[in-house]
């Protein structure tokens, strides 16, 4: 009897068809359609100057989308990010107005964010019976509560002139915030796709028990990812505070919803282990420009919320529809 050679493929065959049926291409398609529709409905949309300026509005929360993708791939979630932004910003403002030099205050802002993320990570890892949503729900309330205790209902600001440059400044024709975001996006994409750390994140998300038995340091990786989320929240705090020129304990309210929407719309499943960061990045721009475009039509704020909500539901539903012929590869 001749032994039939069995070839076990180590990579999925990439045919042109399977390539284009990816989630990310769907997002790009929607993006193109949206751009065309917006451009047709109003002449004001297709203006490079305005569009690039519009990115400055939504890119501040985009920084958190990057590590949040990691968190959700891990099958966890972090809803305390907005409170971390508020707390970092408030502490920075109060310290600056008590005499600390601005540069140092900015570093403290990042440190506070990192610390908040670290606390989240430790709690998630130490209390394995509690899911991350419960823990970050608690820290969400605690962090913002601390911000309120520090500033009560007041605003704090009067930052030096140069601080404005962070949120409003251009380097040539490109806004500074866009440049920083692209750099961060490249770094995070590299970590997730090209390093062992990234592979381990996927592994933990797919099967935490098996990962642990394979020797992957699940706890350590989770703590690192949550800490990174806190750090990026600190960066968001810097840019947001710079755009506002002042800060209050209630800034960034609702940011966590936008951020998670962008990640989930990007094709990253909340079940963990699936999804790619490119999707999240595309989703950032998709939602950002969609909001901007609808704003150009003076759509009331409440209707905008409904539209984003619908988009999110559709994004979660589609992969779960078992379409016999077409299976969207994620």
């Amino acid at each position: 009897m001749s032994m039939k050679q069995r070839i076990i493929i180590d990579k999925r065959q990439t045919t042109l068809k399977s390539f284009f049926f990816q989630w990310e291409w769907l997002l790009i398609l929607i993006f193109i359609i949206m751009t065309l529709v917006n451009g047709a409905l109003t002449p004001f949309y297709l203006n490079a100057n305005n569009l690039i300026g519009a990115t400055m509005t939504f890119l501040d929360k985009a920084f958190i989308v990057l590590p949040m993708a990691f968190v959700i791939i891990l099958a966890d979630i972090d809803i305390s990010v907005a409170s971390t932004v508020a707390l970092s910003s408030v502490i920075m403002a109060v310290l600056y107005n008590s005499g600390m030099p601005m540069g140092l205050a900015m570093i403290v802002c990042l440190l506070v964010g990192t610390l908040c993320g670290f606390i989240n990570g430790i709690l998630v890892v130490k209390f394995k019976e509690l899911s991350s949503i419960i823990i970050t729900l608690a820290t969400m309330i605690i962090f913002r509560g601390i911000a309120y205790i520090i500033l009560k209902d007041q605003a704090s600001g009067k930052f030096p002139e140069w601080f404005n440059f962070l949120g409003w400044g251009y380097v040539g024709v490109v806004p500074l915030i866009l440049i920083v975001f692209i750099i961060c996006a490249v770094i995070f994409t590299f970590i997730l796709t090209k390093t062992a750390f990234g592979r381990r994140v996927y592994a933990i998300g797919s099967n935490p028990v098996a990962s642990r038995f394979t020797g992957i340091k699940v706890d350590k990786i989770k703590v690192i990812v949550f800490t990174l989320t806190g750090l990026m929240a600190g960066i968001t705090a810097l840019f947001l505070t710079s755009r506002m020129g002042s800060t209050r304990p209630n800034i960034a309210t609702g940011y966590e919803l936008d951020i998670i929407t962008m990640v989930v719309l990007g094709g990253i499943s909340t079940a963990g282990g699936k999804g790619r960061i490119y999707g999240a990045i595309i989703a950032v721009f998709l939602i950002g420009f969609l909001k901007y475009g609808l704003g150009l039509f003076n759509v009331p704020a409440q209707v905008l919320l409904i539209i984003i909500g619908l988009l999110l539901i559709i994004a979660v539903m589609i992969p779960n529809l078992k379409l016999k012929k077409i299976k969207l590869r994620r």
Binding site: W25, F44, Y45, A48, N49, R243, Y292, L296, A301
Partner: protein, 346 residues
């Protein structure tokens, strides 16, 4: 192969955005936007769901309709400066000729409003001011000195000249609120009010539920509280409801800035025997004509400029602080004597 395709993905993304675009270097001093068809005048109020703001928008729309322009009404769902900054950028992109804004923060909107002015858009503030560098002129409903003073005079009369009072305000950064509160505190320094003590300034954020909980907190924390001054239509209506529900009519006095339509029941029942206000529709109406005068060049926002504001007659620009303002008039008292006739007007 995959890398090539992925790069193509990225390029398609950026190209689809820039396709058919007109590029302009940022900071290009643009000429006054020439609108095809009717000129667009925009108003941004503090937030939605507030009848006072809605009446301002109504008045503005009426004025713009009278001069033959098109109105864009914008209101954020939360009273934050972030939302207003985004709206300002959207309006710049739509090439409006003028923006009238009731600010949620006096300084945070400066970078955005400056961009608007650089683009040739005439920027004014109404009701709640932005700082003098962010606007050409501010439309003020009444002299803040008059408002602050009359509030203290009213509450002092109600509580018999002595006792503890608290102020229930809107948001903590709102320019108009802060200027009135400053005047109120100054008025209290007068020796004839020496027996009245201001124990707290609470913030209801112009949100109904927060105003209700702040009122309840005040009543609990200060059991000897005699009077509440609420210079916000949302706050005074919320406080009136709390006092009515708790049966504190007569024990805790209430006055403030209230819409006659909202406060009619409470004035009749005696929970609050007097509130003051001006007509918010007139504020919007005046802002509409002021915007038009700026766009047409009749005025430039400098002190001494005069223009005709429709049915309100002629108005003059005056210097206040380090900026210029246009005054609507004096605050008007609503009490049991006249509430019937005013409650249907606004």
């Amino acid at each position: 192969m995959k890398k090539v395709l992925i790069t193509m993905m990225a390029l398609t993304l950026s190209l689809s955005t820039l396709a058919g675009c007109s590029t302009k270097a940022p900071g290009d001093p643009a000429k006054t936007p020439v609108a095809a068809g009717k000129a667009k005048y925009a108003i941004i109020v503090k937030n939605t769901g507030n009848p006072y703001n809605e009446k301002e928008m109504e008045g503005y729309k009426k004025a713009i309709a009278e001069i033959g322009g098109e109105t864009i009404l914008k209101a954020p769902d939360q009273p934050t400066a972030e939302a207003q900054i985004q709206m300002i950028q959207e309006l710049i992109a739509q090439k409006v000729v003028s923006i009238a804004i009731a600010a949620n923060d006096p300084d945070a909107l400066q970078p955005a409003l400056k961009k608007a002015m650089d683009a040739g858009i005439k920027v004014i503030s109404l009701d709640s001011a932005v700082n003098a560098q962010s606007r050409l002129v501010h439309v003020n409903q009444a002299d803040p000195n008059a408002i602050g003073r009359v509030e203290i005079e009213t509450i002092a009369k109600m509580i018999g000249g002595k006792g503890e009072i608290a102020i229930l305000s809107a948001t903590s950064q709102a320019t108009n609120q802060n200027s009135w509160i400053t005047v109120m505190k100054k008025t209290l320094e007068d020796p004839k009010y020496k027996d009245i003590k201001l124990v707290k300034v609470a913030y209801g954020d112009d949100l109904r539920d927060k105003s209700v909980s702040e009122t309840e907190a005040l009543l609990k924390t200060y059991p000897n509280l005699k009077g509440i001054v609420a210079p916000s239509t949302v706050a005074v209506a919320a406080a009136a409801k709390v006092l009515t529900d708790k049966g504190l009519k007569g024990k805790v006095q209430l006055t403030g800035l209230g819409l006659p339509s909202e406060m009619a029941d409470y004035i009749t029942s005696g929970v609050s025997t007097a509130v003051h206000l001006w007509n918010p529709m007139d504020v919007g109406y005046l802002a509409g004509y002021a915007s038009d005068a700026l766009v047409k060049g009749t005025i430039t926002g400098k002190a001494g400029d005069k223009f005709k504001a429709g049915t309100l007659g002629e108005k003059t620009v005056i210097t206040v602080g380090d900026g210029t303002e246009i005054m609507l008039g004096d605050p008007f008292e609503f009490n049991a004597g006249n509430i019937e006739q005013w409650k249907t007007v606004y």
